[in-house]
Amino acid sequence: MSNFSRDIEKTLNIQKVFATLSRNRASQAKHLFVNLIPPLLALAGFFLLCGLVLQIRGQDPLEFYTIILVSGFASLDDIGYVLFNATPLIFTGLAVAIGYKSGLFNIGCEGQLYIAAFAAAWIGIHLNLPPFLLIPFCIGGAMIAGAGWGAIPGLLKARYGAHEVINTIMMNFIAFALMNYLVTSVYQEPGQMIPQTQQIQEAARLPRLAFLLPVLPQSNPLNMSFFLACGCAVCCYIFLTYTRWGYELRLVGNARDAAAYGGINPSTVTIWVMALSGAVAGLAGVAEVMGYRYRFLDNFSSGWGFTGIAVALLGRNNPFGILAAAILFGLLNKVALDIEILLEVPRGLFHAGQGMLIIWLVSIESISQKLFNYSRGVKQGD
């Protein structure tokens, strides 16, 4: 094949990809229905499974379904807890989605959020600044730390072709070990046995909503980081849909070769996408340290980085979908505690259900894709 015809073919390819990218946006509303079916089916399966397990235990599934509604929405306090639970998951879900859109799996959110949380705590303890400076410094420092931790696997992938999944997993464990070391030997709160740092200054704390809204009980942990998360989701949407960088990111994810031909360097994109993903994941650590605990506690995250994968899948990698999915998971986490107390059902049921949900989500997607392709007469493997 001559150079000329190869060029033509590549141009056609790029046009095809370009058409797909722009069509995606135009026909998103039309395909909303198609997009909603898999997550809804998986969710229905999840709730049916939970009901079935309760039936087997000899308990009334209907009681369980009413508890879901009552424990999540009965009072403002309950809603506050649901949104509080959702906050870190919004960040990790967005982080996973940013990577995924560019064809990268960031399984290292867990490590990135620990590193970022520690950076936020360190700045919050050691820097003497007024709140309007200290809070941005803490958040910025945490994002840079998360970005740095995320960029390393990106760099290794871009430079040496090392798979980012393995490297992010390895970096998770390195982060756990590093944090454990720092918090037990260097920065441990003096005179305490608990592996945690001392408290951050008042000036570095994000205000709780209960102080602004008197209707909310003082004990409610919902804080400003939730609005930070919502803002982050909106920013991610705008970034991914309307900016040049967002376009580059998606183009590299959809057609690496075409992107390269179009003058985008996929290696560079890989590095900054992983850094961005790490920075957003790091905000989950910010929410914990600056919004809730006001210190760094070893092992504070209950697998948020991994739950973020489920959130991103359920939200179909759309920032607003992720927002909804994270709130749903926040509700489920609250319900898990409530049914443990009210129905004496161990919360493990919900964790198992989450795992099952993830597996269903990726399988249902393939099944529906197969059916969709079949109905359109497209052969597999095209």
């Binding site: 799996f105 399984i107 290794l156 430079r159 040496y160 072709g161 090392a162 798979h163 999944v165 393995i166 490297n167 997993i169 390895m170 970096m171 464990f173 390195i174 070990a177 590093l178 454990n180 070391y181 030997s185 697998g303 991994f306 739950t307 994968i309 489920a310 899948l313 161990p346 919360r347 493990g348 049921l349 919900f350 964790h351 198992a352 259900g353 989450q354 795992g355 099952m356 949900l357 993830i358 597996i359 989500l361 990726v362 399988s363 997607e365 393939s366 099944i367 597999q380 493997g381």
Partner: protein, 276 residues
């Protein structure tokens, strides 16, 4: 030193061997962690229910296999994203064990064998080198192994021989579940009880060992022993090194090897790819 290295390396070795079968057949297996956990859980539950450690071993292995089959159905039959399914299975295993957590009753351990010059270890410890050599021969010297590896190297090669790629991938993943399950059983049998999340990342460490050992049984198990040695606690005490640094050494080493800075590590060509 030697006893703690062996105790650390044996469960890793079984999981790594299992992972090699699965990944050689082209299926990424991040679910080793969950399979080990279910194996440990099954051992304790089975032993408690029946009073026999052999039944416990069988149940544990069966639990590992069950999770593996779930992984296989999702990834091989439904072409689901293998990395995501693996993570899902790990969360599932953690949840199931948390839900069914038995009363933390002590159970008996697997029988120990006394061997001259070696001391007395669980028979599983002696089983590992045997399986390691057997796996090497099976994978690299027999037609059976050639076919399994063909499933991982190419999406088409088996089809040209009118053999089913899916069948070999099922075999690979199933073997990984059985072996990781045995590894989990050993873990529980050594400490005599089950605790929540007791595998503590060993499945991922086994994954690192696979990469470190370049997807080969002999060097993979060697990596497990190296990692086991690095994490044996006495080392840290003797030289006054932070134990966390030693614990993260395997992960750092794996990243270095994966980047090709020291030696090379090459995964099966079509690992994780379902379509040509």
């Amino acid at each position: 030193m030697i006893p703690s290295t062996l105790r650390m390396a044996t469960p890793l070795g079984f999981a790594a061997l299992g992972g090699i079968y699965s990944e050689r057949a082209g299926i990424i297996n991040l679910a080793l962690e969950g399979m080990m956990l279910m194996g440990a859980f099954g051992y304790v539950v089975g032993t408690q229910a029946s009073g026999s450690v052999w039944i416990g071993l069988l149940v544990g292995t069966g639990f590992g296999l069950a999770l593996a089959l779930l992984h296989a159905v999702a990834t091989v039959t439904f072409h689901a994203e293998q990395i995501v399914t693996g993570v899902g299975i790990n969360i599932l295993a953690l949840g199931i064990t948390e839900y069914l957590l038995p009363t933390t009753e002590q159970v008996g351990g697997l029988p120990h064998w006394k061997v001259p010059f070696m001391g007395s270890y669980s028979f599983v410890v002696y089983l590992l080198p045997v399986l390691m050599v057997a796996s090497h021969i099976l994978l690299f010297k027999t037609p059976w192994g050639l076919r399994l590896r063909a499933a991982g190297e190419s999406t088409e090669a088996l089809a040209t021989l009118s053999l089913s790629r899916a069948k070999w991938q099922y075999i690979g993943v199933a073997l990984s579940g059985i072996l990781a399950g045995i590894g989990g059983c050993f873990l529980a049998s050594e400490v005599h009880y089950f605790t929540k999340g007791m595998t503590a990342g060993r499945g991922y460490l086994a994954l690192a060992a696979i990469i470190f050992g370049n997807w080969r049984p002999l060097s993979g198990i060697a990596a497990c022993f190296l990692f086991g040695f690095a994490t044996a606690l006495e080392l840290a005490n003797r030289w006054n090194i932070p134990v966390q640094l030693l614990n993260s050494l395997p992960y750092i080493l794996t990243m270095v090897v994966l980047a090709g800075l020291v030696g090379t590590s090459r995964p099966p060509a079509n690992l994780g790819k379902m379509k040509s």
